[in-house]
């Protein structure tokens, strides 16, 4: 229905354009098709992006330093053998200063050269306690996240992959647990089991897996619909290999991002319980528990001097660690998430 009139009618055929001539001859110039830019693997590219992110690297550095400080704060002995002999912390975290005849320190001393962060309400060196306190928070953080992530991964993968009634039921359970804030569940579990290290781990691990389960399930569902999974199955791949080869690598990125953020949340949660007096036994050099002790000092009214260092330093340690973890998490997020929009994305077609 064209309004044009063709001067010549009929089909057009071109002869003489021979691509074999191109393929068989020697290249005329140095230019090759690869010179435009190498294709690199996704992980490689992500790692490069991560390295470029300054705040993520700072976060990594801070977490590393804090972890090392915590490990080397005081000697560690396993079954009688001294595994770690160093002791960066100048004093024993439980040593009460005024009991020591060599020391002139008292209760709530302000920061000085011998006690860079001052002393706490029982006359203990705050600096040592803060360094040592990292052990509880950091270790509980990583352990809890490790446990919940693993359990959540398996749970979510099963639920998402098999679908149907399995999925319905498993997810209803998740929805129900989800109705409670993690901290409140942890609170009640700790109230049930009592305070202490492994009780705290349980308190946060037991409710903690649900977000991972949801994440993985979501990813599994999306990827299941993806055509390359159907293609793989059409080619005869077994269920399990399909899951591991295709689904898990794709589901990893959001898990990793959430995991790093989760560590921060758990550390804050543990400290919160410590602050409420429901975590480690009172007097433990755990960051939150230390803050519990100093709470009354803030409400003294004029006339009393407030030992600000007892509040600032332990809390500041929590803040520093969590902030660093979050920076890492953000960095991972940016690195894995961002698609390179090259010219294709700019409408170069």
């Amino acid at each position: 229905m064209s309004s044009k009139e063709h001067t010549e009618r009929g089909r057009i055929r071109i002869t003489g354009f021979d691509p074999d001539q191109v393929r068989q001859r020697d290249p005329l110039s140095d230019w090759t098709e690869e010179s435009g830019g190498e294709t690199e693997g996704r992980l490689e590219r992500a790692w490069k992006r991560f390295k470029r992110n300054r705040s993520a690297l700072i976060g990594l550095l801070v977490v590393g330093v804090l972890t090392l400080l915590a490990i080397f704060a005081r000697p560690i002995s396993v079954m009688g053998m001294t595994v770690q002999p160093f002791s960066i912390a100048p004093y024993d975290p439980t040593a009460i200063m005024y009991m020591n005849p060599d020391s002139s320190a008292g209760v709530y001393d302000s920061p000085s050269l011998s006690h860079p962060m001052g002393t706490d309400g029982d006359g203990r060196d705050l600096f040592s306690r803060v360094l040592y306190g990292g052990r509880y928070s950091i270790s509980i953080g990583f352990i809890v996240v490790g446990l919940s992530a693993t359990f959540g991964l398996v749970y979510g993968a099963i639920s998402g992959y098999y679908g149907g009634w399995t999925d319905e039921i498993l997810m209803r359970i998740v929805d129900t647990v989800y109705a409670f804030p993690g901290l409140i569940l942890a609170l009640i579990i700790v109230a049930t089991l009592g305070g202490g290290y492994w009780q705290l781990v349980a308190a946060f691990a037991i409710p903690g897996w649900i977000t991972y389960a949801r994440l993985i399930r979501g990813e599994v569902l999306t990827i299941k619909e993806n055509e390359y999974v159907m293609a793989a199955k059409a080619l005869g791949a077994r269920d399990r290999s399909v899951i591991f080869k295709h689904i898990v690598p794709n589901a990893m990125p959001p898990m990793i991002v959430y995991g790093t953020l989760n560590i921060g949340t758990v550390v804050i949660g543990v400290a919160a319980l410590g602050f409420l007096g429901l975590g480690m036994p009172p007097g433990t050099a755990e960051w939150g528990t230390m803050l519990d002790q100093t709470r009354e000092t803030l409400i003294q009214g004029p006339g009393g001097s407030i030992p600000w260092w007892a509040t600032v330093f332990p809390g500041g340690a929590i803040f520093l660690f969590v902030m660093a973890m979050n920076m890492i998490g953000d960095g991972v997020n940016d690195a894995l998430d961002a698609q390179e929009t090259g010219i294709e994305g700019q409408g170069g077609g």
Binding site: S55, R172, I173, D175, T176, V177, A179, F180, P181, G182, L183, I184, L185, L187, I188, I189, A191, T192, G264, I268, A271, A272, F275, L276, L278, G288, L291, T294, R295, L298, I299, G301, P302, I306, W308, T311, V312, G315, G316, I318, F319, V322, M323, M325, N326, M327, D330, T341
Partner: protein, 318 residues
Amino acid sequence: MSLRRFILKRLLSIVPILFGVSVITFALVHLTPGDPISQMVATNPHVTAADEAQMRSRYGLDGPIWEQYLTWMGNVLTGDFGEVISSGQDVSSVIIARLPETIVLGLFGWVFGLVIAIPTGIYAAINKDQLADTVSRFVALSGISIPNFWLGLMLILIGALWLEIWTVLPPSRLPLYHPEMLFYLILPGITIGTAAAASIMRVMRTSMAEELNKEYVTAARAKGLPERQVILKHVLRNSLISVVTLAATLTASIVAGSVVVEMVFNWPGLGRELIQAINQREINLIMAITLFTGVFIVLANLLADILYAVLDPRIRYE
């Protein structure tokens, strides 16, 4: 599917969840060995075995677990949450007395969060990767990293040390609607609101930055519409969708946060009540508050779902 049917479907679906919430509440608390009675027995040598048995039956603390659950549920559905064993008060009256305090605090935090975060997020997304964006992202990151109880303590500290404000904790005799309470509300409100603001801002910025890359934005500009209309009419509505989803999760965080913040500021709300109940092993009170929390969050999530469907017509078709 119209909006109404969507809402009805959702309402139906939360019934089993509410049921599950009650089961979990009950189960959690009854994993505890011991109850107020045993605590009283332990601390009070005059209580005899006969007294103990009598109190047990009076408070329904004897009998098999599932029977206790059914009794409790039955009572709950008629509004009877039992008694506070140590004081004899009705649990429901305690809740009624304390609930408004917590609601006010939570609401303040929420509103504070939204008011600060949404404009900031929009501004950051529009000026992506420039100084304003980098600074606000840093501030937001701090906001979600700072432990809320420490923030509260620091605010009190700053108030005391620098501003010489010595009384930040409300005297217990002031009723909530007393205007002076507003003064006491500010610090705990800001404490709770900060984390919320930080989260919302981050999501707002990310969401909007993503939307700004989409083709319909170019198409809208290609129509010659003024930039303000493109952003505020076209982009914002699509960006808010993620924020709404986040806001639902935030309700849970705000509830959890209020527990701790109420302890910091001695705020007379349900959170503080819960901690005291835990310390005194007041089972009825613990269960009632926990149940309330669960139900409230489920309803908040429902509201978010509905809001999401209002904003995004595609969802109504699921």
